[in-house]
Amino acid sequence: MKHLPRASALSAAAVTLLALAACSTTAPSAEGGGGSDDVATGNGVTDSEITIGMLTDLSGPFAAGAAVQVTETQAYWDQVNADGGVCGRDVTVDVQDHGYDPQRAVTLYRSMAPDVIALQQVLGGPTSSAVLPLAEQDDVYVGGVGWAGSALAYPNNQLPGASNAVQAANAVDYMLDELGVAEGSSIGVVYFAGDYGGDSLAGAEHAAEERGVEIVAQEITSQTTDLSAQASALAQADVAGVVLAAAPTQFASLAGVLSSQGADVPIIGMNPTFNPSLLTTPAADALLANAYSITSISPYANTDAPGVQAANDLYAEADPDGAVGWEVPLAYVQAELLKQALDGACESGDLTPEGVVAALGESSSVDTEGLLPDGLDYSNAGQSPTTTVFISKVSADADAGLELLDQVSGPSAESFSYGG
């Protein structure tokens, strides 16, 4: 390696010279709008086509649910295209799989960013928190990153409904208002380490303070599949209810163990915590007896909402044998939200990534035909777009195992604010 420094120094010098010769710091004059119509266009838009991206997890832990969402999303845009598309253009979806690996997510984002106008979804906590800041720099709309409050810090992010903290605050409110939990009692919060769990805990703590109850917190990780120790600790603390911000596995284990220990208390799971296949586990009885689910998005079984019906029908047609669940309405509404933003950008004549983000920031009352609570307000940056959530009860009779009870917006959910 004796000559290497000399060689590399030489070549570095040569290239520096070349570079200086070819260097320029003056930007060329502004790029001309490419559209034949009066719309300015940018990345991902041609005269006939709009490309949107989806960074999802088709080979990692969320593969199966993600697949449902991909199917539904494809079906949605196919339908939109059949109806004439957006801004006179067909919409195509570029789906890439990051496998829940942040490094892959970032690299794939780099590869897709020049060719898409917006990202309908970046699935997963670590993956979306790696992509969001990059997308913010590039002014690219990002939807579907889940409901963690930390994502609200990014003005380019569109949260599909109430954030986790608002969900958890509502959960506490609901326990006190409807499930007979008395003021002064204790409520357990079992949560994943991370922004999803942490945000939920923050909301629950806020509500506890407002409503005069004690919080007993138990942190777990996704590897904790046996919640005996946590359940015992909760039972020991004599909790009157439990808020769970985890995954289906933990829901079943916690409900089962609590019930077996004779703790007959309501358990409310946050958004993605319920999965219909839980009803085949030994914990099914316990879940049917005590388990509730709070979701930002309408559960699958909601005959009153035309949007949900449209979503379900679309999915049933696209994949008759597919697994049904809350992913179906979620994917539909994410696509719907993006479509509204695209329409907004089209109307304001700026069909560029920046234009889509701007359209998002101006939408202060978005309706989704019952898929999400009405009147979503994205103009108040940094705050949850709504305080209303769906509350359902686990039920063996309802499709996808959740029977919708109500839409609620509790007092402590309404008084919650980020950064406060």
């Binding site: 000559h3 070819a22 970032v106 794939l108 670590p126 928190s129």
Partner: protein
């Protein structure tokens, strides 16, 4: 000697690497950044494991320390996290320094344990560091992590701004392009330093301690001190790699530095061939780029099912290919990729004179997996 073509080859490679940003897309640039960061970490680890013979499964812990030290020292204090706001260059130096110091602090442990015991103790280190990262949230931003200040040198920023527009030969040089050159300089320097170390007094002492602590001590090598120096150097490399990863991501989070990252570093150096600097770089390229490239391009493969259709989709296929590639290299290539390359070179160059030495037949012959035993025969 075969040195000259090798150097010429190296120089050509460096030149190509210098020119690449002119033609590569963002995807490849980003991949390149990750590869170069990983390569530096792998080079550091191969010095420790391959040259000095100390198994470490805790490399990611030191990388995490480097990444967070950089993020903390260069970052500004915000509502959620604190930061020192130091100049990025100083931050980079501190990242290396602090990681090396932690390595020094851990080296007495390394002196007490050997082989797999040491490996698993360092494995524990990964979990401990992760726990600290999650809990010291004032400094680290907790589970979600914190954003990372972009690198800057004398007013020139390695990001999309300052200068806002910079073009070379008509190609706009954005943050990725600029970082590419920063990383390239660091990577070449790191490899050069590692090769020097390996070839010099320090490297000989490391190799001797690996081969036989007794013999090394008999030659006047202070075993404990030499082992510690290997740990310190390797940790410093890991710290630099971590800081570079942080720059490549633009943010740091504990998830990036988990067990998988540690294991990946180890896979890199074993695939590349233990103790070989070039091997470590090639291993880093293989381990880092293969999954990314497979994820990006496997959809072009005809026999795979569409994503989400329930069949063997491209990503699953790419992960399986990755696993199979590891298995294949280990089963078929002795000494990893570097060993295979060495044999190939030997075959193409003049064959070495057939050696005909004898061996004393008392004592054990080199042993198989079934009977590994230490080289030293003490009674």
């Amino acid at each position: 000697m075969s040195e000259l073509p090798r150097k010429a080859g190296g120089a050509v490679l460096v030149l190509v690497a210098l020119a690449l940003p002119l033609v590569l897309s963002d995807f490849w640039l980003q991949t390149g950044l990750f590869v170069m960061a990983a390569a530096i970490g792998a080079v550091g680890l191969t010095l420790l494991v391959g040259v000095a013979g100390q198994l470490s499964l805790g490399h990611a812990a030191f990388a995490a320390i480097g990444a967070y030290v950089y993020a903390y020292t260069t970052g500004e204090t915000t509502t959620s996290v604190t930061g020192l706001g130091l100049p990025p260059v100083l931050g980079l130096v501190l990242a290396v320094g602090v990681a090396a110091l932690v390595g020094a602090a851990f080296s007495p442990v390394a002196g007490r344990l050997r082989g797999i015991y040491l490996g698993l103790a360092t494995l524990g280190l990964v979990f401990v560091v992760r726990h600290l990262l999650v809990n010291l949230s004032d400094w680290t931003g907790g589970f979600t992590g914190r954003s990372v200040e972009s690198f800057a040198l004398g007013g020139f920023s390695f990001s999309n701004r300052d200068p806002d527009y910079l073009a070379v030969a008509g190609v706009e040089f954005e943050g990725l392009h600029r970082l590419w050159y920063l990383f390239l300089v660091l990577a070449v320097a790191a490899c050069w330093l590692a090769s020097n170390l390996r070839a010099g007094r320090t490297g000989r002492a490391w190799a001797n301690v690996r081969d036989s602590e007794t013999a090394a001590a008999a030659m006047g090598v202070g075993v404990a001190q030499v082992k510690a120096s290997a740990f310190v150097v390797s940790s410093g490399y890991a710290g630099l790699a971590g800081a570079m990863l942080a720059l490549a991501y633009g943010r740091v989070a504990p998830d990036v530095f988990g067990l998988t990252a540690s294991v990946d570093f180890l896979v890199m150096i074993v695939l590349g061939g233990l103790g070989s600097v070039t091997g470590a770089v090639v291993g880093a390229l293989f381990v880092t780029a293969l999954p990314l490239v497979l994820a990006q391009y496997s959809s072009a493969l005809p026999f795979l099912a569409a994503p989400g259709s329930g069949g063997l989709d491209p990503s699953t296929a790419s992960r399986i290919v990755y696993g199979l590639a590891i298995i294949a290299v280990l089963v078929f290539l002795r000494g990893g990729l570097a060993g295979a390359a060495r044999r190939l070179r030997q075959r193409t160059s003049t064959p070495a004179a057939p050696p005909a030495p004898r061996t004393p037949d008392d004592g054990d012959r080199p042993v198989a997996v079934t009977t590994p035993r230490s080289k030293e025969t003490t009674r």
